[in-house]
């Protein structure tokens, strides 16, 4: 297998996790996408320095976190990042926490979202598909910021339980 194919195989395996790492520290979707693109480029450029005896995901997450911190340095308007020691703790947790079966999780999530009432699904679409901020959602559906936040929190919790139930039922 040539280097490019090997890189792609490893990168595609962990790209969802990289998005999760970046997304947990940067909430702006466009900025996240920019950072993710930058991380992919850096990973490919530095792939020669990668030690195959170590997990590729941990190496890539470390680079992603450094890119996030550089983004904070460039844009001072962003909310404050986590402290370096907290980021170390989170990186260790990403290494230790077991990764879910993505395909099974996606199937379960699809079934669970179908079960949601139309109104709830519409709210999730505004948040996750249209990437609207909470105050924009509140304006659009003529509600309050707090009510939108509570509704989203409840729906996330309901989805989390439903997905866990579905995955357990389907092995």
């Amino acid at each position: 297998m040539d280097r490019e194919a090997e890189f792609l195989k490893r990168f595609l395996t962990c790209q969802d996790d990289l998005r999760a790492v970046i997304g947990s520290m940067l909430r702006d979707r466009h900025l996240r996408e920019d950072v993710f693109q930058d991380v992919a480029v850096v990973l490919w450029r530095k792939f020669d320095e990668y030690d195959p005896s170590r997990p590729f995901g941990a190496w890539a997450r470390g680079i992603a976190v450094r890119k996030v911190l550089q983004t904070y340095d460039k844009s001072r308007r962003l909310p404050i990042a986590f402290a370096p020691e907290t980021i170390d703790v989170l990186l260790r947790a990403f290494d230790e926490a077991e990764e879910p079966d993505r395909a099974a999780e996606e199937q379960a999530l699809r079934r669970c979202v179908e079960k949601l009432p139309e109104k709830s699904r519409r709210l999730l679409e505004l948040r996750y598909e249209k990437a609207l901020k909470l105050h924009e959602i509140a304006e659009r559906i003529a509600s309050t910021l707090d009510a939108v936040h509570k509704a989203l929190s409840r729906m996330r919790e309901a989805l989390r339980r439903c997905v866990a139930r579905e995955m357990a039922a389907n092995g």
Partner: protein, 573 residues
């Protein structure tokens, strides 16, 4: 932390609603428990999964819609026709060329014609002669307020055309001599002629480069951004309020009937920070009469009054800044004596708090911080290079560093106190500002202290702070001088809070313990100084060089009669 609270913080984090306090609480929870960190990771991955799911749904829906539209277009399209070739004709060919290329040519010709017409207009045009006999009327200056002070001024040399700006052509030594019939001594500051003209041919030290109006404009615009106009307006209102509150003896009494050198020194410092050297007449008069009052309170041993070391430091600071910025030669002797008193009052451990007394940590922190400000002002004025001031500085630095809690970064906190303990906030602000003033702003201790201040909320409300005015001042000084990476944003937040508390007539009201110490005048001056913190001392060499070019080279006079304890920088030993 209970799971419900943690889940609540997680939800707010992923909805981008978490404020600074919540973020700090979340960080504490994550740092304190690996299980919480794993919960965070699971939530982040699940949030990503939801986003991915809806992204795929949207992509699938868009693809289906595009396919449906394509099918509808194919179904609705008329049968294709094969165009019949026609013989070429000259006119339609030219019309086609004109449609495609002629517009550009026509527009270019039109633009050139307009430009040529404008050029001819400029060449041919002659400026009309202004009408003859125009007169300019100047309104008389309203200086009634200063007349009562001018009566006491010594007579000006006969060759002076304008007493406000002309410099007498006397030798520096002659200008330094006491006025005829005046005997130097304690409590005679006014009689010694503090309002005499400045030395000829002298300049402003480079450390005060940011005090000019132009440089202050540049620095404030950079630090305050869009808030700069509001800060300007607040400072103008505060200066007007302070001018009206100055007493006939030059003091700013902290309360009715009382007289305290601290409030007067603070007001003088505020005018020196907000003026434009050489200062306009109104500011100069206010400062000089304030200084005269301060010196009249000074004893032969250099102490302003049997009071707190912080008051002594404030008076010394005002004298040093005034000497550095206004170059009044008569301030040199009171300043030397004030610095000697400051050095003599320092304890062997580097503090200004005598051992064996029940003193609160806040008092020790404020005394050290104000003395550090005085040492910095003396250094900026070129007076702090001779012994024993380097030793005083070194002791103060060692004392401050010994007060830091190595675990939390806060100063004066109990050993083992929890992280982000807020009661030490004012003390830490004072200590970090003092380290900055003593040249230790980039030391690990100062940077750790700044980091702790930032994590504790920066300029946020500080419940239980008995001296908020001084905390605001020292905090602004710390942000302005410490090199904290988000210093400008933190200064801006603090400035907004200060602006929000200003009364409509321009003053800031004292409250709690402050009222006993400085009164409204002192607190107003403190808040003005806090707003001006980025401009008080030059931050970079370019700014210093820019202002130095406006003035003559600095030449300090020889030391006062007798062996001086404090020597001027570059005075030859």
């Amino acid at each position: 932390m209970d799971p419900e609270r943690f889940q609540h913080l997680l939800d707010r984090h992923f909805d981008d609603l978490l404020d600074e306090a919540g973020r700090a609480e979340l960080e504490r929870a994550l740092a304190g428990s690996p299980e919480r960190a794993r919960d965070f990771v699971r939530a982040a991955r699940f949030d990503g999964a939801i986003e991915r799911h809806f992204g795929r749904r949207a992509a699938e829906a868009a693809a289906a819609a595009a396919a449906r539209r394509a099918m509808e277009e194919v179904a609705a399209a008329p049968p294709a026709r094969v165009p019949t070739p026609r013989p070429a004709r000259a006119w339609p060919a030219f019309a086609g060329w004109w449609r495609e290329h002629g517009w550009g040519t026509a527009i270019a010709v039109g633009v050139h014609a307009v430009l040529i017409a404008l050029l001819l207009r400029v060449v041919v045009f002659r400026r009309p002669e202004p009408p003859q006999g125009t007169t300019v009327a100047l309104a008389p200056r309203d200086e009634a307020r200063f007349d009562e002070f001018r009566r006491d001024l010594p007579p000006w040399p006969s060759n002076a055309k304008d007493p406000l700006i002309a410099v007498p052509s006397v030798a520096p030594e002659a200008a330094l001599a006491p006025l005829p019939g005046v005997t130097p001594g304690a409590g005679d500051g006014v009689a010694r002629g503090l309002r005499a003209p400045p030395l000829p041919g002298i300049g402003v030290p480079a450390a005060f480069a940011a005090r000019s109006a132009a440089e202050r404009r540049r620095v404030l615009d950079r630090w305050a951004g869009a808030d700069a106009p509001a800060i300007d307006a607040a400072l103008v209102r505060a200066a007007a309020w302070l001018r009206l509150r100055q007493g006939a003896d030059g003091s700013w009494p902290p309360s009715a009937g009382a007289s305290d050198p601290a409030a007067t020194a603070l007001a003088v410092l505020a005018f020196l920070a907000g003026g434009d050297p050489p200062f306009p007449a109104a500011d100069r008069m206010a400062v000089e009469t304030g200084l005269a009052h301060l010196v009249s309170l000074q004893g032969a041993d250099g102490r302003f009054r049997a009071g707190d070391p912080a008051v002594q430091a404030l008076g010394t600071c005002a004298l040093a800044e005034a000497y550095g910025l206004m170059r009044l030669p008569h301030l040199r002797d009171p300043l030397d004596r004030a610095l000697q008193a400051l050095a003599a009052a320092q304890q062997p451990d580097g503090s200004w708090t005598p051992p064996g007394r029940g003193v609160e940590p806040i008092d020790d922190a404020l005394r050290t911080a104000w003395n550090a400000q005085a040492l910095r002002a003396a250094s900026a004025a070129g007076l702090a290079e001779g012994p024993p001031l380097p030793l005083v500085r070194a002791r103060a630095i060692a004392h401050l560093k010994s007060r830091q809690n190595p675990a939390s970064g806060f100063f004066y906190s109990r050993p083992g106190a929890p992280l982000r303990e807020s009661p030490e906030f004012p003390l830490t602000a004072a200590a970090v500002s003092a380290l900055t003033a003593l040249g230790e702003g980039r030391s690990p201790e100062a940077r750790f202290g700044l980091q702790s201040l930032r994590r504790a909320g920066g300029g946020a409300a500080r419940p239980g702070d008995a001296r908020p005015g001084e905390t605001d001042f020292f905090l602004a000084q710390a942000w302005a001088g410490g090199g904290e990476e988000r210093a400008e944003r933190l200064y801006r937040g603090l400035a907004r809070e200060i602006l929000a508390r200003q009364a409509s007539d321009g003053h800031w009201a004292a409250g709690g313990g402050e009222s006993n110490a400085y009164g409204d005048a002192g607190v107003t001056a403190l808040r003005a100084l806090a707003l001006l913190a980025p401009c008080r001392y030059a931050a970079d060499a370019d700014a210093a060089a820019a202002l130095a070019a406006r003035f003559q080279p600095l030449e300090l006079r020889p030391a006062a009669p007798g062996p001086p304890l404090i020597r001027a920088r570059g005075s030859g030993g």
